[in-house]
């Protein structure tokens, strides 16, 4: 370190604490040697200077944190505190929010550890760790702490955290998989070989195995167990150490104690030359435990697959036509640099970087990533294409309407990430119980050891080890989150985005399903229901003429007519729109009018207008020759509505229709769908009151609405679904969004919820039975350490495999 520190103020230049007399830690900052109170501060200050960040000292407004904490923070993490980095994380209310990926997770209890540590950091408002995806969501107050502080806190307890970056996350997972594979290989090799050396001792009857030979076998086993204990079992020891340092108990503690105790006892016996050795049990336990870790890692990777596909859905770059329309030369720019009104070129097969309008021609797009809908969709010029859709047709020119960050897919990813991070009550309960379980287990093991020490000292060690090893709280700490994550992911692939974590749980318990009518059970837009023909007109001709007249109109009725006419279009000329009346124009030289009856009458003379049913809009087509056709358009039911209602009724849930429309119309829809209870003419407040009344009577209400008009009642319901798409996504107040616009996705969600809860219940019941039988058996001395190892590993593999089943039982497309 540098020479005599200058007498600077009164204390450490870095943190402001008094400098101990006689110390000479100092760092040269801007050419002046400054006194430091401890080597920690000196190291940090040195690092700051070396990384060219000594500006910090000139512009800081207060002393730094004392360095023993800050010293753990590599200087590159400080880069995340910069102004633009901070801006990236700003949430609506001035707090900062970030999603971090965390390396080195071992089990669900690690999650608890990380969350607990982060909540101690001043300024951190929320911290939610998702074990299934390895992602950490943090919300903090920029006035009190910074991102580097958050990352540092996670590092301090032995995990590496980075701001989330899909590429890095991928690499991290691959590395974790590779390391785990190596550990498994070493453990397996050492297990097989140690088993061989153990065979003679098991086979030989008393006295037939020479002492020398027995010693040789024991020493050989000891040597071969070393790599398994020192290398393969490292994650267990590290996890246990980190959790003890934080005074929180994780599953790693009994495992590490069991391995450590068995190995130590065996080494002691080998050195002494007498007593039992358990090298075979130790290696086998390590191997089997690693097997279940491999399985769990695979489960975790697969649980995040659909989300990952979303994250990779938005391209990094785009082809921008800077000179459009004068020139069509494309330059490649980063997708993040796209702004409104930029024109981009998207070649066939490429994803679209941002929400954009199709400028010319037509194309088909694949939106399977966004909605789970696999059939390509046709788009014409002027129509909106959501970012993240893949251009499946010819190359297209598009005008960007929202930047890539605000695009549909980006919104979707943010919502999905946020959803995976919160924790359902069930998982929180499992975490808590898991911790108590481990604490109880350690006490029991100690008690059992003391008892046998007194009763039969020779068996005290093996029995205590067996107790430590045999217990399996995996169903609590591991399988519950895995099951919920697997179900959530499977549903995302089917187009159900779960926004709040409690959805699966609550939907499973729901007793009432309340549907809104317009836009939920019905399409929310008119469809051609009937055509009445007059004066010998032909249906197809009338439709084509109508479609030609409406070609330039964006009115929903016009679009319904165009859709009904199909692909073959006629060309209309001299089109003129009369607001509130209709449209007039000529097709093949004949003048037509399309619109209200009075408007048509102006061309073809008066005629008698028949009364139409309520809820049906009639559009008339006429020419000089007279009235040709009447098109009856009405909001039609979704194809899958009756099927979905039937599925809910079959599942024993009460289905209610709640509509703002007239009672008669609500009744009609209810009749067609076999819904027993229908209430029409409901104002939003009345809907709210109705749901609250049901809830007071003890019902658990699932509400399905269109997400925007029903905000209040959706919020009041126990669990709510919105039919959502596009940019309106973020505004919906529902707990889950049906992205595909298919109502049957809702029934899938309900089935997914039932399946997930069934698996969770099975796992919990299994864990309870297993532990109730196995732990007392081990304590009584009926189980050897090796039997315990097998039992524990098989049990944990069983629960993880059971949770994985959900991915296939909730079938994807």
């Amino acid at each position: 370190m540098n020479a005599v520190p200058q007498a600077h103020a009164s204390g450490c230049f870095h943190c402001g604490l008094p400098v101990p007399a006689g110390s000479d830690w100092g760092v040269e900052i801007d050419g002046v040697s400054q006194a430091m109170c401890c080597p920690g501060c000196a190291a940090v200050a040195q690092a700051i200077v070396e990384h060219g960040m000594s500006d910090y000292y000139r512009s800081r407004s207060g002393y730094a944190a004392t360095a023993d904490q800050a010293a753990l923070l590599p200087p590159q993490l400080r880069l995340y505190d910069g102004a633009d980095a901070t801006e990236k994380y700003r949430a609506a209310d001035g707090m900062l929010e970030a999603t971090l990926s965390v390396d080195g997770l071992r089990c669900a209890a690690c999650v608890w550890l990380i969350e607990r540590r982060l909540r101690q950091v001043p300024g951190v408002v929320a911290a939610d760790m998702n074990v299934a995806t390895g992602r950490l969501f943090v919300r903090w107050d920029p006035g009190q702490c910074q991102l580097s502080g958050v990352l540092g806190a996670v590092r301090e307890i032995g995990y590496a955290a980075y701001p989330f970056d899909p590429a890095r996350h991928e690499a991290q997972l691959r590395r974790a998989g590779k390391t785990l594979g190596r550990r498994l290989f070493v453990a397996g090799l050492s297990m097989m070989q140690v088993m061989m050396y153990a065979v003679p001792a098991y086979l030989a009857s008393d006295g037939t195995l020479e002492t020398d030979m027995a010693a040789l076998m024991q020493w050989a086993s000891l040597l071969l167990t070393l790599p398994a204990v020192c290398y393969s079992a490292q994650p267990f020891f590290r996890g246990a150490w980190a959790s003890i340092r934080q005074r929180a108990l994780t599953m790693d503690v009994p495992v590490a104690l069991g391995i450590g105790a068995a190995f130590a006892a065996s080494v002691a016996a080998t050195l002494r030359g007498s007593g039992d050795v358990y090298f075979d049990s130790v290696t086998m336990f390590i191997f089997l435990l690693l097997c279940s870790r491999v399985l769990e890692l695979a489960a975790r990777r697969r649980a995040a697959q659909a989300l990952e596909r979303l994250q990779h859905g938005l391209p990094d770059s785009a082809q921008r036509l800077d000179g459009y329309p004068a020139s069509r030369d494309a330059t490649t720019v980063a997708a993040g640099d796209l702004s409104e009104d930029d024109v981009i070129l998207v070649r066939s097969g490429e994803p679209i970087a941002a929400d954009a309008l199709l400028l010319e021609g037509e194309t088909s797009i694949d939106v399977s990533l966004l909605t789970g809908e696999s059939a390509p969709q046709h788009r014409k010029a002027g129509e909106l294409i959501p970012g993240g859709a893949v251009n499946a047709g010819q190359a297209a020119l598009l005008r960007v309407v929202r930047s890539a960050r605000g695009s549909t897919l980006a919104t979707l990813v943010r919502m999905a990430e946020g959803a995976g991070l919160g924790k359902p009550a069930l998982a929180q309960w499992a975490d808590r119980v898991g911790t108590w379980f481990v604490a109880g287990l350690l006490l029991l093991a100690a008690a059992v050891f003391l008892f046998w020490q007194w009763h039969e000292p020779a068996r005290a060690w093996p029995i205590a080890i067996a107790v430590l090893v045999v217990s399996c709280p995996c169903a609590l700490s591991l399988a519950t989150p895995s099951a919920l994550a697997a179900a959530t992911d499977a549903l995302l692939r089917r187009g159900v985005l779960i926004v709040r974590p409690h959805v699966l749980e609550t939907l499973h318990r729901a007793t009432h399903v309340v549907f809104d009518k317009t836009g939920t059970l019905t399409m929310g837009r008119p469809v051609l229901r009937d055509v009445a023909l007059y004066n010998g007109a032909e249906r197809g001709d009338c439709l084509r003429v109508a479609a030609a007249l409406e070609a330039c109109s964006a009115h929903p009725l016009a679009q319904a007519l165009a859709a009904a006419a199909g692909e073959r279009h006629l060309e209309a000329s001299g089109l003129r729109q009369l607001a509130g009346q209709g449209v007039t124009g000529s097709v093949d030289g004949v003048e037509y009018r399309l619109g209200r009856a009075e408007f048509i009458a102006g061309l073809c003379g008066r005629f008698i207008v028949p009364a139409t049913a309520s809820g049906v809009s009639s559009v008339w087509l006429g020419s000089k020759a007279g009235v040709l056709a009447r098109f009856d358009l009405a909001d039609d039911l979704r194809n899958d509505a009756s099927n979905v209602v039937a599925r809910f009724m079959a599942a024993g849930k009460r289905v209610v229709l709640l509509s703002g429309d007239q009672q008669a119309m609500a009744q009609e829809v209810a009749q067609r769908l076999n819904i027993p209870e229908a209430l029409g003419g409901q104002l939003p407040e009345q809907k709210l009151a109705f749901v609250q009344k049901l809830q007071r009577e003890g019902a658990v209400v699932a509400m399905v609405g269109d997400g925007i008009n029903d905000a209040a009642v959706l919020r009041a319901a126990d669990v709510s679904f919105a039919m959502g798409s596009g940019a309106a996504l973020a505004q919906s107040h529902a707990d889950a969004v049906l992205l595909s616009g298919r109502l049957s996705a809702l029934a899938d969600a309900a089935e997914g919820a039932d399946a997930a809860m069934a698996v969770v219940r099975q796992n919990l019941v299994w864990a309870m039975l297993y532990n109730m039988v196995a732990i007392p058996a081990a304590a009584m001395g009926w189980l050897n350490p090796w039997m315990s190892g097998i039992g524990m590993s098989l049990s944990s593999m069983l629960v993880v495999a059971n949770a994985l089943r959900l991915r296939t039982s909730v079938k994807g497309n």
Partner: protein
């Protein structure tokens, strides 16, 4: 029986050698793609272009 005094140490050496070889293979990326090589070998591109 005396042969065991030789064979057991030899087996230990072999196991450690196997671990060493495995690590080298793993480092060289042999296990990164477990599917591709099996498909590649089927491709009949021996003929000169």
């Amino acid at each position: 029986m005396e042969a065991l005094y030789l064979l057991v140490p030899v087996s230990i050496v072999i196991v450690f050698a196997a671990i060493w070889v495995f690590f080298k293979m793993s480092d060289s990326g042999q296990f990164d793609d477990m599917v591709g090589p099996a498909l590649r070998v089927l491709q009949d591109d021996d003929a000169a272009p």
